[in-house]
């Protein structure tokens, strides 16, 4: 397939892997990929098999589904169960466990929950069902927030009375800061999120290099992008540089996408606080609808419990999201917590570190590799 296969070339990968091995030798490296999309790529293509044992990838907090706290899931379910509501969300979100079941369970009990691929699909459903209330459960970082914002603008333009958004959009910089401030972490650098950066550009990460002294390479989502990003981070350190580099130039402009940023400013405001799964409350880390769009705000339109639900005691998603624990080091990984019966959010989304490791990486380890790779 044109324009895709070029970024998955085995020969180029092998050459790059060799350069990483040379550049990294003599030192242990820990590089965090911030974005769940990267985690997925790493496991899907088996990228760790190409890295030398002294280079470790640590999976970060940038999985949109993984960071949704249980209380917000329960709020969504309460809206979904309201009479006359058609509740729409992305597929991954449907299996996230709340305090009492998931949206998929609510659907089985009779709630009209539908999977959509885009908020515009939800808008279409609202137009087709003028006698029903259609709610879109919005999740994601700056990547998906502009499409939600555009959808709201379009709903406002058309004076659509039966459409609203339950907004859980979050921003990427605050959790990165929280991780950098956490005392129990040792990282040599970051692979910056590619999709988020198409919107916000690469400048928002400058504090990581300047204030925290950690190099950043903003990278794309093809496997060669990731390998190149790892190489760039290691080379920065070896050359005594510490900056934000843009590996994903074919998509990401240094200043991002001004139109998308403008739409975000137009529709959203920052929430004073937002709870992140496993990371707790982080100030100014999430988006809510501006007052002029209050009529599209499902949180105001419907009664929701709005109760904070503590994570299950056994769940260590927070440590996994911060990169302190590897997925398999969690006490319930793969035993009580599996993709079919997830306890924590990291086991739900295909971008979640635990699900990616469970589904794709369960054998990528020294002993079995010997058994299977001959």
């Amino acid at each position: 397939m044109k324009f895709v296969d070029e970024f998955r070339d085995q020969g180029v990968a092998a050459a790059l892997a060799k350069r990483i091995a040379t550049e990294s030798s003599g030192h242990d490296w820990k590089v965090m990929e911030v974005c769940g999309g990267h985690t997925h790529t790493i496991y899907k293509y088996g990228i760790e098999d190409l890295l030398p044992p002294n280079v470790e990838l640590v999976h970060g907090p940038g999985c949109p589904v993984c960071v949704i706290p249980m209380g917000r899931v329960d709020d969504g379910i309460a809206v979904a169960k309201t009479d006359g509501v058609i509740f729409t969300c992305f597929g991954d979100m449907m299996r996230v466990p709340g305090g009492d079941g998931s949206l998929l369970d609510a659907k089985a009990q009779g709630a009209d929950v539908r999977m959509v691929y885009s908020p515009l699909d939800a808008l279409k459903i609202a137009r087709q069902n003028p006698d029903r209330e259609v709610v879109f459960y919005a999740i994601g970082f700056e990547t998906t927030a502009p499409s939600t914002a555009l959808t709201i603008l379009r709903a406002a333009q058309d004076h659509l009375p039966n459409f609203s958004v339950f907004c859980n959009h979050v921003t990427i910089v605050p959790p990165m800061k929280a991780i950098l401030d956490s005392p129990d972490l040792r990282l040599d650098g970051f692979l910056g999120p590619g999709h988020v950066s198409t919107v916000i550009g690469i400048r928002p990460y400058e504090f990581v290099a300047k204030r925290y002294g950690k190099p950043v390479a903003v990278v794309g989502f093809e496997p060669l992008d990731i390998l190149q990003g790892v190489y760039m981070v290691i080379r920065q350190v070896n050359e005594g540089r510490c900056e934000v580099e843009n590996q994903y130039r074919r998509i990401v402009r240094d200043d991002g996408n001004p139109r998308a940023l403008e739409v975000l400013r137009q529709v959203f405001k920052l929430r004073p606080h937002f709870e992140w799964r496993g990371l707790g409350f982080i100030s100014l880390s999430a988006l809510a609808l501006r007052d002029e769009f209050a009529r599209f705000d499902a949180e105001l339109r419907f009664e929701v419990p709005g109760v904070r639900v503590a994570d299950p005691k056994a769940c260590q998603c927070g440590e996994v999201l911060k990169g302190v624990l590897k997925p398999w080091e969690c006490k319930v990984f793969g035993t009580a917590c599996t993709p079919e019966t997830p306890i924590g959010t990291c086991m739900v989304s295909s971008e979640g570190a635990c699900a990616a490791y469970y589904n794709f990486g369960r054998f990528s380890r020294a002993e079995s590799r010997l058994k299977v790779l001959q």
């Binding site: 470790e56 793969g334 990528s364 002993e367």
Partner: protein
């Protein structure tokens, strides 16, 4: 992540954690859900759990695409399948053709010559007679193509809103000439794994035909009767097992095989035939063609020495022109399917979890 020997959870190393997980996965599955959800019909792990934890204990039947019965010295294969596909008509086929081919294929992969079918119709009040006529004619044409007769049928009508226009059930009977030849017990390490052509065509075509995704391709369902292809494979060499990679796709079929025969299956991504349109749609939608349904694709496990002859036999049939050897059976680690990626890495290919897909068969 690279296995760092020093890292442990309590007394467990990574390898021990993973071994414990494999031990848990080998246990008989427990059905924990209180209500049926769409995942139970998706052909993946939830379907497997439903069958293993509810149906099999109640009925005590063996696994496989068809059951074998001995009758006066002859062996008959019996199978049944129900079709709820939406939309009823899709590029490359319709529910009627699917219902005939699907059941014919379940017989064919059991090594049987399909003989006859019965059909059950569940019709929703308001279904246009013209629609039913088209479906019926299509069933008749598919039956002629497969050389089977439609012996008996039944019709029920449900009130408007209680069914989705038309559901179909077909039951098929065929005759097996060499009943001992195929089976899980025949599968052994070293066997080659073949597919008869491009994978994921049907599932992708149906998803796109529903029109929700606003993607346009000229992709068609691959619905076709496989009995000739199966016979050709059996005549060409030492075939140990055949499966029809429908719901849940090739990945599900291989996972069932690995679990039931307690072997590993290693696939080579580069060898798996996938159409560009399917790869493109999968790329955009974030799904994996390995899990997409096929309605005319055979997965065959063949003795290593005969793999090339069987491949040649498949390729000489119009339905098998793009057949390929996609991997092999290994002894270790039992129950696991994995893939050498085209990128040079490796990963596990697990059973499908959840239901990312609309109704496809």
């Amino acid at each position: 992540m690279p296995a760092s020997e020093s890292s442990r959870v309590g007394k467990w190393s990574e390898q021990e954690v993973l071994d414990r997980i494999e031990a848990i996965r080998r246990r008989a599955p427990r059905l924990r859900d209180e209500a049926i959800n769409m995942a139970h019909g998706a052909g993946g792990k939830a379907t497997h759990t439903l069958v293993e934890a509810l149906f099999r204990p109640a009925f005590g039947n063996p696994s496989g695409d068809a059951a074998l019965l001995s009758l006066e010295g002859r062996t008959l294969a019996v199978t049944t399948d129900t079709y709820v596909v939406s939309p009823l008509f899709f590029p490359g086929g319709d529910i009627g053709e699917l219902a005939v081919n699907g059941t014919v294929n379940d017989l064919a992969v059991a090594g049987a010559q399909p003989l006859c079918l019965t059909a059950g119709f569940i019709l929703e009040e308001g279904l246009p007679v013209e629609t039913l006529r088209r479906v019926t004619e299509s069933m008749a044409a598919a039956a002629r193509r497969a050389g089977v007769s439609l012996l008996a049928g039944d019709t029920k009508v449900v009130p408007r809103g209680k069914g989705d226009l038309l559901f179909l059930n077909t039951t098929g009977v065929g005759e097996v000439r060499q009943p001992e030849r195929l089976g899980l017990a025949q599968v052994r390490a070293g066997d080659a794994v073949l597919v008869s052509g491009t994978i994921g065509d049907h599932g992708t075509a149906i998803m796109l035909a529903r029109g929700d995704l606003d993607l346009e391709t000229d992709l068609e369902s691959d619905t076709a009767p496989l009995h000739e292809l199966c016979s050709a494979a059996l005549e060409a060499g030492d075939v140990h097992l055949m499966r029809d990679a429908t719901r849940g796709g090739v990945a599900t079929v291989l996972n069932e095989l690995a679990a039931e025969a307690q072997v590993a299956v290693a696939m080579r991504e580069q060898e798996i035939p996938i159409r560009d349109a399917v790869r493109g749609a999968a790329e955009i939608l974030g799904i994996d063609p390995l899990y997409m349904a096929n309605e005319g694709k055979l997965v065959a496990v063949v003795a290593a020495g005969d793999a090339k002859t069987v491949l040649a036999a498949l390729r000489s049939h119009p339905l098998g022109e793009q057949a390929a050897i996609i991997g092999e059976v290994r002894a270790e680690p039992p129950g696991m399917v994995f893939m050498h990626t085209a990128f040079g890495g490796s990963r596990v290919v697990d059973m499908l979890i959840g239901d990312p897909l609309p109704r496809i068969c």
